[in-house]
Point group: C2
């Protein structure tokens, strides 16, 4: 075993052992811990902001773009918001401990399922210091130990944040190793973490396609893939065009850099003459259009510029003010397009026709399927989950926005009377 392997073994072992100390804590003790974390972070403001300042300086030197620097930067107000968010998590109901499917078996055994923490969660994420606090708090709220691996650009901030969290754990008489940070930027540690199946129960990668793929390919631990959204909106022939433009614009421009933003507009051929109207409004918002041949021609005729769509462009998650457009013959062609290009995140139909709406909901099998609503609603907060661990685009365990329950599993409890089979 080399040094790195030994380090990872120790990390995993410490997380697993610490997890046992959390598993049966009552909600009062867990909320008290969360409050203590808020207190420590607040008391540690100057240290945290100084550390973040070093990260920002290094990022500027390294020539990171402004958007990235903005995402990793903290200030007093942002830190206050992070701390205030802890109160929101304290206010959430704790799913742990619930018993369900309670039944008396024919053989006299009383059987039930009890919701329990997963144990140890590994989270790999990018240069966003707020995620360090957010994930630690959600994991602790559900009685899980967590191993954090944040982006190297926020290393200093994460070290300072994790230190404050660990101090709170310690003050509450709990093992500090309930929250551990891998602060060594060596990429080999990510690969090592992905194979710690002896200790880690779930990996949540919060990042782009490359990270998701790495986890799918390297992990021997169950991974929750997600956060990649190639999202579609189908404008049906029976859509109310007097109201449709607002939804399309909202889905595309309200926050174009996130996974639930619209990527492709599928427009029924009968509505093609309406296309220039919404296209003009989109153009005014700065949206670049990437259109199929038929729609592009119609747009050009109306004096609206559009690039030519390709197979590749339809398979692109834009994360920017770009919108693909495809004319479809009918609803089946729209569904076929979605089945070919969707990442299984969020799709919408705009229609006043009940049959079309029902058919679309039945046949489209993405995590979230909308009738007459913007894809932007796919979000733990919007869905009333109170928190969002990630948005899963796979089908096992949790699908779509993941709330606290996604950080739990269940065990079967069976009480007999010296019962034999």
């Amino acid at each position: 075993m080399n040094g790195q392997q030994a380090y990872l073994e120790q990390l995993g072992q410490a997380a697993k052992t610490s997890g046992f100390a959390l598993a049966n804590l009552g909600i009062k003790a867990k909320n008290q811990l969360l409050a203590a974390i808020a207190t420590e972070l607040d008391a540690d403001r100057s240290t945290i902001l100084a550390a973040n300042c070093r990260d920002v300086t290094a990022a500027q030197k390294a020539g990171l773009n402004d958007a990235m620097i903005d995402r990793l930067q903290l200030d007093d107000a942002r830190l206050s918001a992070i701390i205030a968010d802890i109160d929101n998590v304290i206010a959430l109901a704790d799913p742990v401990g619930e018993e369900f499917d309670n039944r008396l078996l024919d053989n006299g055994i009383r059987l039930s399922r009890r919701r329990v923490p997963l144990g140890v969660i590994g989270v790999i994420y990018e240069a966003r210091p707020n995620v360090t606090v957010e994930i630690a708090v959600l994991a602790l709220k559900t009685g899980n130990a967590v191993i954090l691996r944040g982006g190297k650009e926020t290393r200093e901030s994460n070290v300072a944040l994790a230190a404050a969290i660990r101090r709170a754990l310690d003050k509450e008489g709990l093992p500090a190793d309930c929250v551990q940070l891998i602060d060594n930027p060596d990429r080999a540690l990510v690969n090592g973490l992905l194979k710690l199946d002896k200790y880690v129960d779930m990996i949540v990668p919060r990042g782009g396609q490359g990270l998701q793929r790495l986890c799918a390919e390297q992990a021997t631990i169950p991974v929750i893939l997600g956060g990649i959204g190639i999202c579609h909106l189908y404008l049906d022939k029976d859509a109310d065009t007097s109201r449709a433009a607002d939804v399309i614009i909202n889905a595309k421009v309200q926050r174009p850099t996130v996974c639930n933003a619209l990527d492709t507009l599928l427009i029924h051929q009968d509505k093609l003459d309406w296309l220039p109207k919404v296209a003009e409004a989109l153009k005014e918002k700065g949206v670049r259009l990437v259109a199929c041949e038929q729609s592009r021609q119609r747009l050009l005729n109306a004096g609206i510029a559009a690039d030519m769509a390709t197979e590749e462009s339809f398979a692109t998650e834009w994360l920017s003010l770009t919108l693909g457009i495809q004319v479809v013959r009918d609803i089946d062609a729209a569904i076929a397009h979605i089945r070919t290009y969707s990442s299984g995140h969020s799709e919408a139909i705009l229609t006043d026709n009940l049959t079309a709406a029902t058919y679309f909901m039945n046949e489209v099998n993405s995590a979230a399927v909308y009738v007459n609503a913007s894809t932007r609603f796919t979000d733990g907060g919007q869905f009333g989950l109170g928190a969002e661990v990630a948005v899963s685009t796979q089908k096992l365990h949790a699908r779509g926005p993941m709330g606290l329950e996604a950080l739990t599993t269940y065990k079967w409890l069976a009480i007999g009377d010296y019962s034999c089979r």
Copy 2:
């Protein structure tokens, strides 16, 4: 792309497309399909039994042991039992289509979760022809397409069984590719199947440690690991010894070759003098004892032979008439032993003490935790699930015995009124 890759691509694509045809079938149509499969299998008896006969002959030539040959052999009665089991699946409730967590969001959107098929399930299993029918039927009942990869020793039987199933699909107007069999014994196809994440939603390996490990390491698709049980029974100081022996014997000898059979007896030190009594009864049943130093000494003093336990023996799933024995100081030592050696399958405590029982249920975090009952109850049928896809020992998606619901996922449905965020 080489020939094998092209074959796998086509297999996956066909499964995915076929799955869409199943996804929205009503329960009546699905049950009619299952009945048609029973009819075809019945009509095909002579072909199936002849194929199986070829497998048996080949297995005998290859020198397989009697137990293995017995497992792969079919006769008229066994085939009748397989067919009759289809009626049991027909009688089960269909989890697909259920809507739950229906709620009206603040923004006026009506949100719910609808239970839907996973899509495509890949199942890798050993030389048991009954599994071919069982898994195909469970998958179809829940609207899933399935790719089957059975043991090479039952290749001929599986080809005949799959042909009958596919004929039934065809007669019911459904794509035959809803059920596909990989009948080429090349192991590389298993590795290829494990990476078909573009088409396959879940892999269920039904086999030993080697297969489970291969899947954990190679799959880019979510895998349900399971079926490995290093199971413990802790005899507490407050156990009723007049009733305990029956449970211990049942857990060990009622069916020693399966995953929920007992592997290690943990005995409280105060009960050590009672050990020879149960040990004698176990010996009478042909059980070999592998005991820790203290218990071995006590047994030897009573004239009962026992082998010496080691770290390795405690980490062994016996699958045979062998029982490990470890004396423990107290309940915490028992729990520590379980945490070290358990595979997370099934553990039991025998006690009349409520505090001990509660503590054990809280602190032991295996898929099934028993108080005063044999570990042998961990089974889909015993738990009232009606069917058993597998017994999961991981914590995501499904844990313990997996019924039909484990072959489904959900999608979020949201109905708005041209709603924007």
